[in-house]
Symmetry: C2
Subunit: 359 residues, 2 copies
């Protein structure tokens, strides 16, 4: 596949201009671009500029407020609830994570639940904001219901990702960032484009029967919680998705479960909301609230080194430490540019034309 | 199977007497019994009185200190590190959870990492301690290495469980408590007793090939992280197990990864420890540090009711809310008694004889 390649500078300038065109302030545009582009840099192509026109459509549908007044509505020494005022999640999330970091500085840890927000890009980006402060970062979000819990044929949860970023000393940080389903929706989109089948255990039909059709969700099917089936622990994946949903939305006052508004602008949000917008949850833990930071980080080096050098199954070179593949992507793409799917590139060209911007 | 049945009162009196015989104070014995028996009540038979003689053997091997001086060695407003002084995890864990609850009362949340402890029974028991205070409780622990991360043939992690207990209003609480592997080790023990095969995806042979032999671990095999294989997300299960290990042990100063001492007394702990004992991590979040407790709990009722009434796959009566099966067990067994495997019952009889106690 000969995909067009764009520099980070080019893509970020274009995205910045688009955010300005929909009314974002310079400051918010810069924050949004950093959140958005981090996905492209880290190889999570489904969550980067490929979604830019989707965000614009949500703004056109008046579901995204480009001039949000993001504010704390309740707080204690180690917690806060933030009202995102329908802002872009790409802006609201870093704002909330900064509050978590500031709380952690004072109280040892900081935990921020967010309501009235929108999709926030990749969870890992927000969690990683804690790293330069010698803190552990956590980020999670609920999302449009696409997942049927174990035994259900109804879609009641989103792919509800969890990210955890943990600093090390000379080793790169441990950065886990994963959907609580067997496979993220972005993986299905790739199979759809390639017209390939999905492995069994990723998707079920509308009656709950196994399916390998990556288009099954259009026909009433559903994604499946991590574990694939009851015998292999899908009830545990359901626990994880439920945990993310409750912390992100029931704690904050956002919509939860089947009430979470759809990401796509052509589907209307549920008529009887149980909260405001979608919800996120962030955590920051100061490492030296537990033990001296240097001591902790040297033990993390030891942890990472020991695991990375594990004896592997024949044919596998090494055990992969969470965050390794994304970091390699980030280094390479920052240097050599970001390849975009041809459809995504032409979609961005159309978006540019709309605003008189050349892509 | 005609298993002997014992009342809660009988088993708890016996366990209490055993703990006194090994030198526990009255107070510690009472706390240990409550932790231990909660597993039997909730139907997690592998973690209850079936382990009592194992704890005694660890005491005989001088790896359990029955008179621990459990103390805070470092703290901030929302965090603490506790040194368990080699005490029974059954005693150390509730002590640490009380500290988390007290911290949450002041700071909104409380987070306690524990080093120098031993196995703590079921994680769910400790997490549930938060519920009467209108708090969310979390508990996790690392454990003896039995699990090979994705692509590894070495056992580097324990089954590292996570428990999350969330209060509701008129509905019973949401209580998730699960090993971060496809199947917990207790499930293998049951299959071993029944001489049955395990499903593929639970266990691998020492070279990493799939196995259905529940005795495979005796031959160098390993349990597998939740997800079963790379294609079905076992790298996510690895992330979860790693998270538990790092929070429980690298934050606290306990042993982590392959250095965690084995539960069985006949295997010596690693000669080059990287910390002290095994580690746990606890959290308590005051619900009203986020929104009024009544409001939160009524939304939890709505969440639970909506999920429980989901349309199900043909043949399945209803979606199971985490904690439902264990609560039903607890209600029944408190009334009608606890059935024990015949081998466990005779093992307890032998244990009683050793101490001059009748079982």
């Amino acid at each position: 596949m000969n995909e067009p390649i764009f520099s980070y500078a080019h893509l970020s300038r274009f995205a910045h201009d688009v955010f300005l065109k929909i009314g974002c302030s310079e400051e918010h545009a810069a924050v949004a671009v950093e959140s958005l582009l981090r996905a492209d840099l880290r190889g999570i192509d489904s969550h980067g500029v490929a979604r830019l026109s989707g965000y614009v459509r949500l703004w056109e549908a008046k579901r995204v407020n480009s001039k949000p007044n993001i504010r704390i509505v309740h707080e204690t020494p180690s917690t806060a609830v933030v009202d995102g005022d329908s802002g872009l999640g790409l802006v609201v999330a870093p704002h909330a994570m900064q509050i978590a970091i500031a709380k952690a500085r004072q109280a040892g840890t900081g935990w921020v639940a967010v309501k009235n927000s929108n999709h926030f890009g990749i969870a890992g980006h927000h969690a990683m904001m804690a790293l330069p402060h010698d803190m552990i970062g956590m980020a999670m979000t609920n999302a449009s219901p696409l997942v049927a819990p174990t035994f259900s044929i109804e879609r009641l949860l989103g792919t509800n990702p969890i990210a955890i970023a943990i600093p090390a000393h000379t080793q790169p940080p441990f950065v886990a960032d994963f959907a609580t389903t067997t496979a993220a929706n972005g993986k299905l989109e790739i199979l759809q484009r390639q017209e390939k089948k999905a492995p069994l255990g990723w998707i079920q039909k509308k009656d709950g029967a196994p399916s390998s059709n990556p288009n099954e969700l259009k026909d009433g099917g559903a994604l499946i919680p991590l574990g694939s089936d009851r015998e292999h622990g899908s009830h545990k994946g359901f626990c994880l998705g439920a945990w993310v949903d409750i912390f992100s939305a029931v704690l904050s006052g956002a919509n939860y479960g089947p009430w979470v508004p759809p990401f796509v602008s052509f589907l209307a949000p549920p008529a009887n909301p149980v909260g405001e917008g979608i919800g996120h949850f962030f955590g920051a833990l100061r490492v030296d609230a537990f033990r001296p930071a240097d001591e902790f980080k040297k033990h993390m080096d030891n942890w990472i080194t020991r695991f990375r050098s594990a004896k592997t199954i024949a044919g596998e070179e090494k055990l992969i430490i969470p965050g390794d593949p994304e970091r390699e992507f980030e280094t390479t793409r920052m240097k050599t540019g970001i390849s975009l799917n041809a459809k995504v590139a032409s979609d961005l060209k159309v978006l540019g034309n709309k605003f008189g911007l050349s892509f």
